[in-house]
Amino acid sequence: MQAVRDVSFEVLAGEILAIVGETGSGKSTTATAMIRMLPRNGRVLSGQVTFAGQELLSLPNREMRRLRGEDIAYVPQQPMSAFNPTIALGKQVAEPLVIHRRMSYREAAPQAAKRLREMGIHEVERVMRSYPHELSGGMLQRAMIATAMICEPRLLILDEPTSALDVTIQRQILNLIKELQVGYRLAVVLISHDLTVVSQVADRILVLYGGRATEIGATSSIVDGARHPYTRGLLRSTLTRELVHKAKLASLAGYPPNPREVDRDPGCPFMPRCHRAIAQCAVAFPPVAGEPDHAWACYNPEPAT
């Protein structure tokens, strides 16, 4: 069963690319496949992943391990469970240094402390000695980002960094990510299911549906003029200030697709829910069309605004 099909994109240093999609859209799979962290039963069938001129998929394991944590950092979902519950936080934050720079925990501790402070954590000493279950979600997310940043990577991948947090903390974390991007000229891949959240910080957005890339473009192009019906639907169904009081909330009809069904059917996976579907949509996945910095895959796209 193929979870992701024909998805291509690039990320440049100093820019944030957001990959947006529902559960099952293949966004996490894409990200983990990029750094060869697919689960045991997952495989990359075809394609390339190029990082700073290096082809990652054919790299020997040891080289890949060296890149991970040092040049490419991955921040997993749900910081509350992503830390080891039996090891003090300070050690875990310092671990990449121990692995890649051959430092001892003692030597690495000051740097870990510095990073934690940088991420906006106060009382760093106490936090470093604490265990994960003693800290809040927001703090853990910051600690996780600190861990990712400790070796000053060039690419940062964040998997749903705000989903487990409440709204006020979400804002803070997003701002933090933005600061890092600017301060370190990071290339950032931000994975989320929430288009509105990412549109606040992302430079470009890639929308996935049913394992396929449906639309990609600069944030402004997407937010102001999305052409794919799915993206439009996503934008319309979110709460924004422009909504009239007591107006009916637009929503996308239907349910996200079953990955197995999508695998079988040849056409566009969004067709069952699309109000602009035409006969052609069932036959084959639409080819990519578009402008220089905005592309979509649809036979019958929404008109330009």
């Binding site: 069904e261 079988r264 059917d265 056409g267 067709m271 069952p272 069932a282």
Partner: protein, 289 residues
Amino acid sequence: MAAPALPQDRSRTARRSSVRVLTLVSRYWPALLVFAWLVVIVVPGVAAPQDPLALNLSNTLAPPSAQHLFGTDEAGRDLWARCVWGVRYSLGISVLIVAGAAVIGTIVGGLAGLLRGPIDALLMRTTDVFLAFPYLILAIAIASAVGPGLTTVVVALTAVWWPGYARMVRGQVLALKEQAFVEGARAAGTSTPMILYRHLLPHLLPQLSARVSMDVGYAVLALTGLSFLGLGAQPPTPELGAIIANARSHLLEAWWYTTLPGLFVLAAVLSSMVVSDWLESRNKSEFLR
């Protein structure tokens, strides 16, 4: 959107009955194993035509031959027959022990879980004490106090085994009783034992059966161990542990006497483990459904 028919649709390709039988066998073969053992227990004559008690002092300690598959023991008795009869005892008694322990344990554990309060606390303390014991030592202590014999061993091992079940059932009951259907039953005025029997038991059975089949194997090992020490079956009853104990005196001359009966025990215990694993995997897949 028309979906093409999946080629892996099993019920259509397995049209031929031979293929269907094969699939049944490969999926349910542990049941066949149980059946085979049942045959051995109920009709041992099928597996062993020789008489396990027939003395033949002219042919003592003979090595395996076409006539005596496992050779003979010090009284000229056919070892194969003795083993078959012995395994019959071992398995039969073990099933009895484990079934008894399971029943007692379920009742005690179930009631403890449902009633809670001081009864629960008392029961749990008692089971704690029992569970803390090395079971073999406890069984030895009981059996030595009451006198050797198969009945004693049954009582001793059942006494040692039931706390484990009580614990397990209690845990499950505690989890189950929070569910709505128990509340409903209580509201309808069902008595506690009835709740246990009618409503909770079906949920307990899958785990219980997996554990029971596993424990049968362990009971066989415990039983043979006790018989080996002289506490279980008394001569001339052919019980595998006792047979092996007899073999000790002839260890160096009659290798078949020592080595072969143990294989029977091994076979019986392995079967129980296989059945138990199979039941467990079925339990898990049922759950996923």
